[in-house]
């Protein structure tokens, strides 16, 4: 996997792009390449991370404008080819706005911007994004969002449950998300969107390493 390269997308307003790159390069020795949102050439990356932040200032709705960037247009083919895409926080919002994942993310129930560590239950092994093969079924990751309340209609929720697409659920729901949902995958499992930040939990010195597995799983084929 020497040449495996993870593309980290940079939108105007992204602010976790460097954290993701640091976690992948510094903690996992995985090569990264920044991809400016106006690029549509994804030929030299093997997986993609849509990082957190406030793309286009969250104007209109979170992720609504980013959806129309050339890079997101090119993402359809990338996803269909089976390559892995991880959307973190604003990246998750972009994935729902652009239809790669169902549902939407709306303002937290208590209207607060919540910045905290949360306990999460690993629900599904789809896509191999989480280490739930051993007894440890709970992880702790940081969240930092104002609009992280996952919402979907009851038919979509049933589909998520029936097809094992719910990846993570909050143990103590901080934001009012439907069914305590913190992260979901697409049906194929190669796209994961989640509100918590795995890249902020990749070194004991900053409070934990529960995010390492998810970032490492980007290099799965």
């Amino acid at each position: 996997m020497d040449n495996f390269t993870v593309g980290v997308v940079v939108f105007p307003g992204s602010n976790c792009d460097r954290d993701v790159s640091w976690a992948l390069e510094g903690c996992l020795d995985v090569r990264t390449k920044y991809l400016w949102h106006e690029s549509s050439d994804l030929s030299d990356v093997d997986a993609i991370v849509l990082p957190g932040g406030f793309s286009y200032g969250d104007y209109l709705r979170c992720g609504a404008i980013a959806r129309f960037s050339p890079l997101i247009n090119a993402l359809d083919e990338f996803v269909k080819s089976g390559k892995r895409v991880l959307g973190i926080c604003n990246g998750f919002q972009i994935l729902t706005e652009s239809g790669f994942l169902p549902g939407a993310l709306v303002a937290n129930k208590n209207l607060n911007f919540i910045c905290d560590d949360v306990e999460l239950d690993i629900v599904s092994s789809k896509g191999g994004w989480f280490n739930n093969l051993d007894e440890k079924q709970t992880i702790k990751l940081p969240i930092a969002h104002g609009e992280g309340r996952y919402h979907c209609d009851s038919d979509t929720l049933k589909k998520l449950v029936d097809n094992e697409l719910i990846a993570l659920r909050y143990k103590n729901n901080p934001n009012g998300s439907s069914f305590d949902i913190a992260g979901i995958t697409n049906e194929k499992g190669n796209v994961l969107g989640l509100m918590p930040h795995p890249e902020r939990a990749c070194d004991e010195i900053i409070g934990g390493t529960d995010g390492l597995f998810t970032l490492k799983s980007l290099i799965l084929k």
Binding site: V106, K109, G176
Partner: protein, 84 residues
């Protein structure tokens, strides 16, 4: 080409909780306003647009509303159109 002024109203669907509306309702009551049963916050978008007649403009506005102005997972929209 005809020019139209369009007002698009985007609202959270009734099934979606509107915490900002709830907070504003609470402040309205603190201000002393009585009788408020419900308060929900939406968006109004004003567009001036050219096209060959109302039908063509409606097609464009429908596309904009459906694909950009509203996220139909959580929002409904309606609009009014006035020929200038």
């Amino acid at each position: 080409m005809d020019q139209f002024a369009v007002k698009v109203f985007v609202r959270l669907r009734p099934s979606v909780l509107d915490p900002a509306g709830e907070a504003t309702k609470s402040a309205s009551i603190k201000l002393g306003a009585e009788g408020i049963k419900s308060l929900r916050i939406g968006k109004m978008i004003e567009v001036k647009i050219e096209g060959n007649g109302e039908n063509e403009v409606r097609e464009k506005i429908d596309l904009l509303c459906d694909r950009l102005f509203a996220n139909t997972v959580i929002e409904d929209y309606e609009y009014s159109l006035e020929k200038l």
